[in-house]
Assembly symmetry: D3
Amino acid sequence: MTAGGRRMSMVDVTGKKEEIRIAEASGFLRLTEDGVNAVKSGESHPQGKGDPIEVAKVAAILAVKKTPELVPHCHPIKITGVDVDVEVLEDGVKMSVRVKSEGKTGVEMDALTGLVVGLVTLWDMVKYAEKDEEGQYPHTRIENVRVVEKIIKEKE
Amino acid sequence: MTAGGRRMSMVDVTGKKEEIRIAEASGFLRLTEDGVNAVKSGESHPQGKGDPIEVAKVAAILAVKKTPELVPHCHPIKITGVDVDVEVLEDGVKMSVRVKSEGKTGVEMDALTGLVVGLVTLWDMVKYAEKDEEGQYPHTRIENVRVVEKIIKEKE
Amino acid sequence: MTAGGRRMSMVDVTGKKEEIRIAEASGFLRLTEDGVNAVKSGESHPQGKGDPIEVAKVAAILAVKKTPELVPHCHPIKITGVDVDVEVLEDGVKMSVRVKSEGKTGVEMDALTGLVVGLVTLWDMVKYAEKDEEGQYPHTRIENVRVVEKIIKEKE
Amino acid sequence: MTAGGRRMSMVDVTGKKEEIRIAEASGFLRLTEDGVNAVKSGESHPQGKGDPIEVAKVAAILAVKKTPELVPHCHPIKITGVDVDVEVLEDGVKMSVRVKSEGKTGVEMDALTGLVVGLVTLWDMVKYAEKDEEGQYPHTRIENVRVVEKIIKEKE
Amino acid sequence: MTAGGRRMSMVDVTGKKEEIRIAEASGFLRLTEDGVNAVKSGESHPQGKGDPIEVAKVAAILAVKKTPELVPHCHPIKITGVDVDVEVLEDGVKMSVRVKSEGKTGVEMDALTGLVVGLVTLWDMVKYAEKDEEGQYPHTRIENVRVVEKIIKEKE
Amino acid sequence: MTAGGRRMSMVDVTGKKEEIRIAEASGFLRLTEDGVNAVKSGESHPQGKGDPIEVAKVAAILAVKKTPELVPHCHPIKITGVDVDVEVLEDGVKMSVRVKSEGKTGVEMDALTGLVVGLVTLWDMVKYAEKDEEGQYPHTRIENVRVVEKIIKEKE
C-alpha cells in the first residue's frame, strides 16, 4: 500500500444517542508578583487593554465555540452553556472552563480548547509585567491543564 | 473578592425545550441621491464590484450564520431559514432580515447581526457615490435598526 | 450577454501607495431606563454574562479584524491599532470605534463593522432588561451609525 | 421593481423532518510522474511540509465543517462522520470524501467542499514537483469532481 | 526515530523579497441543459436564492481571502485585487479567478481556492435543476481546474 | 465615571518599525504508557483518525494563523514561517512551535496559541488510550507551556 493510502475518518457517531454531556477543564497560569498585580488591575490596565480577567473569559467562551474549527476531529456539537471561573492566587491564576452540551459525543476537548485559549489570552493581557529586561518570559508558565470531570446524563 | 473574580457564563439553556423561533430585524441606510442611484446600478457598478443589493444580501445571510462567533454570548443554533428583503426608497434603502431556527434560545441577535453586516456591506458597495471631495461621509447613516418581531412556536 | 456574465472585481489597489489610514465610526444604542441601568451593572450582571461594556468592547475589537471575512469587497489590511470608547447617557449608550492601519485602502468599513457588532453585543448583554412582557423590543434601537472622520497620512 | 429589490432566501427547511443524510463526492488530481512520486514521499517531504496525503486529509475534514461559511446558501448541519479516502494512481491521485449527517437538508455540498479543498491542498503539498522551469503548471489539473451518491435514511 | 517525529514546517519565506504576484485559475462546471438555463435565470431563481452567478462570484472572492485558513501551508498574504469572470456556455459554465497580491510567496493556491469554492457554490445554486428523480447528479461535474498563468513582477 | 466607561484599546503600534520577529514556545503533554504508544501508532490509529503527530502539527500551524481571531488584543501580522517539532518521550510528548514574522509587534502569542491547540489536538488523537473505565482522564496533563525565546532582528 502506498504511503498515506489509508482512510482518515472523523469518527462516525451517527448511531449514538443524544445525551447531556458536561466537561470541566482547569489549568494554572504561573505569574510573577508583578503579573498577579497586573491581573488585579482590572480596567486600569496601563495600556488600556481592559480588565485582564474579563477579556480572558470572553476569549475562553468564544474559543469553546470554535473547537471543531481548531481540533480537526472534533464534531460540531450543540453547546448549551459555558461557565468560566477564575481564581487569583499568590503565584498565578487558576482558570476553569465548564461546558454543557447536548449531543452524541464530546465535550471535554471543547472545554480544554476554551481553557487554553483563555490562559494564553490572560498571559497576553499581563505580558508587560511578565517580560524581563531582555523581553523574555523566564517565569511565566501554563501548568496543570487537565480534565477535572466529565459527566454524561440522559436527556429528560 | 479580587477584580474579575466572578464567574462568567454563557447562559445555560440545557433544560429548555426546543421550539421554532423566528425573529425579524430591520434597519435603514440613509444615502444621498447619488448613492440611491448607485444602489440601482445593479451589475453596471462602475468599479465592477457587482450588484450592490445582491452582494449585500449574500453578506447578510453569511453573517447570520456567523453570529455565535461574533457575539460572545450567542449560542450556536440550528438556523433553518433566512429571508433578506431590500426596499429602495428615495432617501436610502430599507433592509430586513428574518431568521427561522429550531432551538432552545435566540434568534433575534442572529437577525440583527445579519442585518447590520448587510447594511455595512451595502454602504461599502456604494461608497464611491457617498464620499464628498474630502473623502468624508457627511450624509450616510445607518438608522432605526430594530427587532420587528420575535415569534416562538411549538415544534410539531 | 447572459445575466451575470460580467466580471466581478475586488478593486485592484496594487498600484496605490501605503499610507497611514485612520477612521472613526460612532453610533448609539437607544435603551430603556432599565437597560441603561443594566449597562451600568458591570460584573454584577444578573445572568452572569460579565460586564456589558467590557464584553461589547472585546466583540468590537475582534470584529474589526474580521471585516474582510464579513464584507466581501474589503481588502485584508494591516490593522495597527483600535480604540473603543463607550459613553453611557441617560437614554442609551454611545459607542465609537477608531481604527488605525497601514495600507493602500480602507479603513472606514473596518471601523463600521467593529462598531455595529459592538452595538449588537451590547444589546445582547442587556436584552433581559429591554424585552417587554411579550418578549418584544419596543424601545431598543441602533441609531445614527456614521463615519465621524477618515484621515490619510503619509508614512514617515 | 427596482434592481435587486427581490427577496433573497436561504431556503426554509423548518418543516422538513430530520433524517440521516449521507453523500460521497470524488475527484482526481492529475499529476506528473514527479508529482506522483512527491505524493508518495510521505514525511520525507523535501521542504518539510509533512506527509502530503495526511495533510490533505486533515484539510478536507476541516473544510467539510466550514461549508456553511463558504457556500452562502448551505445550512449549518450536524455532521456525524467524515471519511476521506485517497488512492494513488499512475497519473495522479483520486480522493473521495464521504459525509454523514443528521438534519433536514444536505449533505452533498459539504462533501464537495471538503473534497475540493482537499485536492487543492494536495496540489499545494507537491507543487514543487509540478512546476516547470517558468513556474507554471502545464500538467496539473483537478478533474472529474462529482457526487458519487447521496443517500437519505430514516432516523431510527 | 519515532513515527511523526520529524519537524513540520510552513516554509520560511522571511528572506525572500516582496514582489507583485498574480495568478489566474480557471475551471468548468458541466451542467445539463436545465442547469445552464437555471444559471441564466438570474434573480428569478425559483427558490429565491438570488442570481446564481452573482452569489458564486461573491463566494469566490471571500474564499480567496480564506485560503490560509483552509490550505494549511499557505502563508497569509496581502491580496490587492481579485477578478472573477464567468462565461456561460452551452454545456456548462467556465469560471476564472485572477488574484493580485504583494508578498514573498503565492498566489496560485489562493486563486485555486477561490475558484473551486466558486464552482461548488454555482453548483449549489442550480442543484434543483441538476438532480435526477432519485436525487442523484449523474451529469454534473467540475472539470479542468488549472492554473492558467502565474506572473511575478518587481514592485516599482 | 460609569462602570466600563473607559476606553479599551488594541495597542497602537503604527509608529513602530518593521522587524523580523521570532518566538518559540514549548510544552509537554503528559500521557500514560498506553497513550505514548498510541502516539507512536502513526497511521494505524485504531479509529482511523490518522497519524496523531501529523494531525497535531497541522492543527498547530493552522492555529498560529488564527491567533488574532482568538486572542482579542493580538494584531494581524505577516507570518513568514512556522516550525513544529515533536519529541516522543517515555512519559509523554514535548511539542515546540517556532514562528517567524515580519511586523511591528509579536510574535510570542502566536507561537503559544499554535502550541496549545497542537497539544489539545494531540490529546484528542489519543484520548481513547488515556480515558479510564469511567471515561475520566486521571493522568493526562498539559504542562510547562512556556516561551523558550523571543528574538528581534533588523530587516535587511
